[in-house]
Each structure stands twice: as structure tokens, then as C-alpha cells.
Amino acid sequence: MTTEPFQTHLFTQTTRDARTSPMATTRTDRLDIAARALAGIPGGYTLAALLSVAAARWLPLPRADAVAAGMMLGLVAWPPVMMTAFALHSLPRLCACLTLTTAILATLAYWPA
């Protein structure tokens, strides 16, 4: 498998050049991708859902407006979370950030009940 000059592969250790390697991804890379996909897709959705609930609860608006605002905010939030999941260098730091944000939003969304 070859890559074009303008298409840089990224899940590579500094020692391995994707252009010369027959395999595009190693086992470590696959695990890394799977973890980031989990953080971005179900993780991103959870974050968006919690944000929509938190916004609906706390925005100083009539109920119907607050619900609509929450849904739109949730939609806006999901793609950047997905991008962050693949942009952050450190996987542990990504997990920490995501867990913290999710915990804060979950608190705002469901506490006090």
C-alpha cells in the first residue's frame, strides 16, 4: 500500500514509514483507532445528549424553546468532539478530558433530580 505525497499517514511510530511499509496500520494503531472511534462516536453522542439535556434544563427560556436550543447545541457539539478524539496527542489525556466533561454535563443534566 502506498501513499501519495499529499496524503500523510499519521498512526505511525516515528521509526516506521508508511510509504515503505506493506501494512498501513499495526496492531497498536488499530487499538488506538478503535479507542478514539469509541471516544468520538458513542462518547461524542453521550456528550451531545447530556449537553442537550443540561441546556434544556438550565437555559432561562420557556420549556419548548429550551428543548429546541438544547437539541441544536447537541448537534453543534458532536462533530468537534469527534475531531478532538482524533486530534489530541495523548489517549489518556483524551479519556480524562472526555470523562470530566461528560461527568460535569451529566451532573448538570440530572442533578438535582
Partner: protein
């Protein structure tokens, strides 16, 4: 681990693109055709020779017909005739489920009109994908979010595309595909981002129902009432009571609405004492949808509730929704939607093509070869499958039982056959073959529109002819490339 922002986003762009690309291609193309939903329905009813219809008499005729032919349906939904769609579009239910038919504006009956879903097929497919509720809509909502992601990461990946805007190097293989991809991406980027995000907005109640569920608990009636204050729900009483004449009710609504006129109305519990008639204003003068609604008591004709939308967030939501469905759009704007939609379809197509070009240089993997082959089936096969719907509409006998279903089955059988064909043969062979077939099918649509008396027939023929010419040119290029694979 070495990781830079741009390569990471390029990787994400490539993979979210290839995973959702086929789906987005089909959604974008059917959505583009949906821009002309009423016009396609008119094209598919050659029996509709009159180009205008008076809304209120047509509604009266429709109600008279429905009262004798669908008295037990719990509700009737009717879109009144417009200059674009000179017929009443009715939806009711019988013992087999929903029935959806255009009604003749003079007689109120569907009998003189052939059984077809017309433009409604593309509209429904665009967000329901011919799958049962809610799976099709959920899949479409996820595709919309994936498109937002792919566009945002694409801006990072192809960051130089503004500078490269005036660069197009044809006949240079991958370089040309990349130039085309960049050009299509940048030229309508605001449209692409808008249509992807607003597409997700139209399905947001399904994607993110949690806010409403938390605030309203399980009280859906209150939620519905607060969202649509003029929608009145009354339980069936069982006491048969005739409907009040619909003409005066619609005239009253028309006076309240002003020059935007009536878009549609629905009657709940027709023939019962608890009948309610809810009328929605057109949105030709505002981008947002459903800005003005009035509901009437179905037996006395008195106004039960009226609501004009001024709430800021709901209005924002309605404007985003309205931007997507483009009911507000006058002729030229609608053609711009159509062209931008085509550009989005082509952007997706070139992206899919680039993904495989950069991976099939040497000895490609089996999976890459399969993707490469199926790309042909999707990119060249989808237009052919959609065009076959138009052909089936004119070629299937008018009196055929269940012909609307057969028309739709034609699309999926054609599509499946072309995908199978593409999967079994090398892509270098199927590109010219399937592109030629697309050209022939589109040319056939242009011819079968004859005689080109009605303006929709002439416009459809011209548009189909332009598509045929474009596919023929592409087929010719693909055939040349087959002989000289390096160019």
C-alpha cells in the same frame, strides 16, 4: 506517538468519507431531486393537463370524495394545490395502512390519475431510505452528522483549496480528481455545511429526544401542545356529526394568513363530533416553516386556537428547518439548490473515487478492489436506478395493480443488478459501461417526456438530456482511460 492536527484530520476525512460516502451520495442525489418534488409528481401524471388549480374548490371536492371513500380514516392530511402542484395531495389510512394519492382538483377523486408516488418517492427515500421507522431516519440523521464532520475535516485536509480555487488540471489522473474535488468543495462550501447541518436539525427530535423527555417526563401531549400551541387534540366521542363546509373555513384561514396563502390542512376525527380542522399557512414569504397555524372546530367551523410563531429559539429552529426543505424558495433559488445539491453529490463521488485511486496504484488489497468496483456501482448506478423510476412510470401499464410499488421496486432491482454487475467485473471495464448506461437511461427519460407540451415535460427532458450528455462525456473519457490507463 507522533500526531499532527492536519494529518489526523486528513485521516478522519478519508475514513468518515469512505464509510458514509455511498449513503451520502444516494441521500444527496435523492435530496437534489426532491427540490423539484411537486414538479416530478406532475411529470409522473401525464393525465394532469391543466397547469393551474383553484385551491379552495379543489379542497372542497377532495373532502367530498374522502367523506364517501375514506370515512373511517382517523385523519386526512391534504396539501392544497399550488401553482407548482396543480392537484390536492392527500394522505389517509385504510385497513392496510397509509394511502397517499394526488386527487383531481375538479372531481376530488384519484381514479383518473395513475397510481404513482411521483416525486414523493425521492423525498421519502432522502430521509427514510426505504427502511422501517425509525431506522431509516436514524441512519439519515447519522449520515447528516457524518457529513458535517467530513466537511469540517475536509476544510482542514484540503486547507489550500481557497488558494487552489483557480487550479484545474484536467487529464492528469488523480491530480485532476483532487482539483475537481477541491473545486466542488469550495464553490458551494457554505451550502454544503448548511444543508448537512440543517438536515441533522430536521431529524434532531429523533436523534436527541432526551431534553424533551427530561423536561416533559412522559407527558407527550403537553410537549406537543407547547411546541404547536394551535394544534388541538380531542378524543373521539363516537357521535357521528357531519363536517362543517370546508370552503368558508379555508377562506377564513386565508384572510388570517394574508398573501402567503394556505399550504396544507388536516382533519382529525372526520365525521365525529370531536372533529378538528388544522390549517397551516404557506411559507413563500418567510424562510421558516409553519409560522402561522389556525385550528377550527370541525363541526361548527369556529376557531379553536391560532398561533403565529414569534418565540426566538423555535423560530431559529424553524428557519434552519426551512432552509433545508426550501419551500420558501422562488424559481431561481430552487435551481441554485438543485445545482448545489448536484455539486454535493459530485463532491461525494469525487471523494469516493480519490479514496480508491490513492490506494489501488500497486497491488491493491481485496477490500480496496471491492470498494473500487462498488464505487462504480454507486456513482454510475444510482443515477441509472433513479432514472429507471421515471421510465417505469411511463412504461408500466396504467391499469396495473399496485403499480406505485412496482415503480419503486424497479429502482431497487435496477440498483441491485448494477451493483452486482459492478462487483463482478474490473472497475476499468464497468466505468465506461455503466456511465454509458446512465447516459442512455437519461436520454430515454428525455425522449419519453414527449410530447413536450407541458412545461414540466420540456424542462425535465432538457435536464435529462444535459445529464445524458454529461454521462456520455464521462463514459468516453473512461473508455479512453481504459485503453491508456496511465493518463
Amino acid at each position: 506517538m507522533k500526531r499532527n492536527f492536519r494529518p489526523a484530520m486528513t485521516w478522519l476525512h478519508d475514513w468518515s468519507g469512505i464509510i458514509t460516502g455511498w449513503l451520502i451520495f444516494a441521500i444527496a442525489l435523492s435530496g437534489t431531486l426532491s427540490v423539484f418534488r411537486p414538479e416530478i409528481t406532475v411529470w409522473m401524471h401525464p393525465e394532469l393537463t391543466r397547469e393551474t388549480a383553484d385551491p379552495i374548490p379543489a379542497a372542497e371536492a377532495a373532502i367530498t370524495w374522502l367523506s364517501t371513500h375514506a370515512p373511517h380514516s382517523p385523519d386526512w392530511y391534504l396539501d392544497v394545490p399550488t401553482p407548482r402542484a396543480p392537484f390536492t395531495l392527500a394522505l389517509w389510512s385504510d385497513k392496510n395502512g397509509y394511502v397517499f394519492r394526488p386527487l383531481d382538483p375538479l372531481t376530488g377523486s384519484p381514479d383518473a390519475l395513475r397510481d404513482t408516488h411521483g416525486g414523493e418517492f425521492f423525498y421519502r427515500f432522502h430521509f427514510e431510505l426505504q427502511l422501517p421507522y425509525p431506522w431509516g431516519r436514524l441512519l439519515a440523521a447519522i449520515a447528516a452528522m457524518a457529513l458535517v464532520l467530513t466537511l469540517l475535516t475536509g476544510i482542514v485536509a484540503h486547507r489550500r483549496f481557497f488558494a487552489d480555487f483557480f487550479t484545474f488540471r484536467p487529464g492528469k489522473g488523480q491530480r485532476s480528481w483532487l482539483d475537481a474535488h477541491n473545486l466542488l468543495g469550495v464553490i458551494a462550501l457554505p451550502f454544503h455545511l448548511m444543508i448537512a447541518f440543517t438536515g441533522a436539525v430536521t431529524l434532531s427530535t429523533l436523534l436527541l429526544p432526551w431534553g424533551a423527555q427530561t423536561l416533559y417526563k412522559s407527558d407527550l401531549t403537553t410537549a406537543q401542545h407547547e411546541l404547536h400551541p394551535a394544534a388541538i387534540e380531542r378524543p373521539v366521542t363516537g357521535k357521528a356529526t357531519p363536517l362543517a363546509p370546508i370552503g368558508p373555513i379555508l377562506r377564513t384561514a386565508e384572510q388570517h394568513f394574508g398573501k402567503t396563502g394556505i399550504l396544507s390542512f388536516y382533519i382529525e376525527n372526520p365525521g365525529d363530533q370531536a372533529a378538528v380542522i388544522t390549517v397551516t399557512a404557506g411559507n413563500t414569504d418567510s424562510i421558516g416553516i409553519t409560522s402561522h397555524v389556525i385550528s377550527f372546530d370541525g363541526t361548527t367551523g369556529t376557531i379553536l386556537a391560532e398561533h403565529t410563531e414569534h418565540r426566538p429559539v423555535i423560530t431559529t429552529f424553524n428557519v434552519l428547518y426551512g432552509l433545508h426543505v426550501a419551500r420558501f424558495a422562488p424559481g431561481i433559488t430552487r435551481w441554485l439548490y438543485f445545482l448545489s445539491g448536484l455539486m454535493l453529490t459530485a463532491l461525494t463521488g469525487t471523494g469516493l473515487r480519490l479514496w480508491t485511486i490513492s490506494r489501488t496504484r500497486n497491488t491493491p488489497r481485496l477490500s480496496t478492489t471491492l470498494v473500487d468496483r462498488l464505487n462504480v456501482g454507486f456513482i454510475a448506478g444510482t443515477p441509472t436506478a433513479f432514472a429507471s423510476y421515471f421510465l417505469a412510470n411511463r412504461l408500466l401499464p396504467v391499469s396495473l395493480a399496485d403499480r406505485a410499488t412496482l415503480e419503486i421496486r424497479t429502482v431497487f432491482l435496477t440498483w441491485a443488478a448494477l451493483l452486482l454487475f459492478a462487483a463482478l467485473r474490473p472497475a476499468t471495464k464497468t466505468w465506461p459501461e455503466l456511465l454509458s448506461l446512465a447516459a442512455i437511461t437519461c436520454a430515454a427519460v428525455a425522449l419519453i417526456s414527449a410530447p413536450w407540451h407541458r412545461s414540466v415535460d420540456a424542462t425535465t427532458a432538457l435536464t435529462a438530456f444535459i445529464f445524458a450528455a454529461a454521462f456520455a462525456a464521462a463514459a468516453r473519457r473512461a473508455a479512453l482511460k481504459k485503453r491508456h490507463p496511465t493518463t
